[in-house]
Symmetry: none
Subunit: 141 residues, 2 copies
DNA sequence: GCGCGTTGTTCACCACTTGGAAACGAGGCC
DNA sequence: GGCCTCGTTTCCAAGTGGTGAACAACGCGC
């Protein structure tokens, strides 16, 4: 955030995480621009984190996961925002062989329910796999 | 670009392609902010991207495509903004021979519906083929 | 032993994909 | 105008894949 002197030429910041105001500036305006930058940074930088205790943390909130859910979540977090195949998930959760095709579906359902409160969501990409993303990622303008 | 009345509260546009100034505004400042948005738009005016998982991504949003739609979209994305003939599309989607003349039309309709939310559109060029472009491409100056 | 969370299984149901058919409309050509 | 082609749109049917509820078994802490 740059504060530009009254008679200085305006800057041209291409980076969406930079902005400027000309002095003297209304304090509400400065606060609004700061809040905008902060909101952009949050959306861009937020990365879920799965700590060593099996806690899934995202944007200040957290949930405890069951062992199988933790394995599934670890694969999804590693490729946050990208598709992870059903086989990849199954191998991660059951390295020695998955019990049933449907077991994965059921655990994905349970994982979904558990991460609802973190504003995270698991999206299905039919016949390709699943994808973890911010719950509001594609409701942005 | 919003022009905010002297006593109105400032907006909070998260979209990096939006901005605002408070009136009365220095004309140089307004021009500078317009130029910044324009520069961002140029950088951001990237091609749509069809990733390896069959997801069509454009300007931060994405949609999953069905297998046939993915093949059609791949041909259109390769020549983004240019016409692709019906035969070209048909050969891409059904290398061994198209099922019916109408099949292509029906799939193009479905592809259109699906990419609506990405601000992409398929335009018809009668008796020549189809063309993929930004939905607002010809509303811009 | 008891209660609770976790795990796996089954099954009914729903949603998506695809191709086929047909109605409809717009335009060009005679 | 009449006719034809091209394109749009809706409907249907079959096959496939994903969802979600219900249930039973297991293990662990108290």
């Amino acid at each position: 955030m740059l504060l530009v002197a009254p008679d200085a030429p305006p800057p041209l910041p291409v980076d969406p995480l930079e902005d400027w105001v000309r002095l003297p500036a209304d304090d509400r305006d400065l606060q609004a621009r700061m809040a905008t930058l902060s909101a952009r940074a949050d959306v861009d930088l937020a990365q879920p984190d799965l700590d060593e205790d099996g806690l899934l943390r995202y944007r200040g909130r957290w949930t405890a996961l069951s062992p199988v859910e933790r394995l599934l979540a670890s694969a999804l977090v590693e490729r946050f925002g990208a598709v992870v195949s059903r086989e990849g998930l199954a191998r991660r959760a059951w390295p020695t062989g998955a019990p049933t095709r449907n077991a994965l579906d059921v655990h994905m359902l349970r994982l979904r329910r558990r991460i609802e409160g973190l504003s995270l969501e698991v999206r299905t990409v039919r016949s390709r796999g699943y994808l973890l993303q911010d719950a509001y990622a594609d409701r942005r303008p």
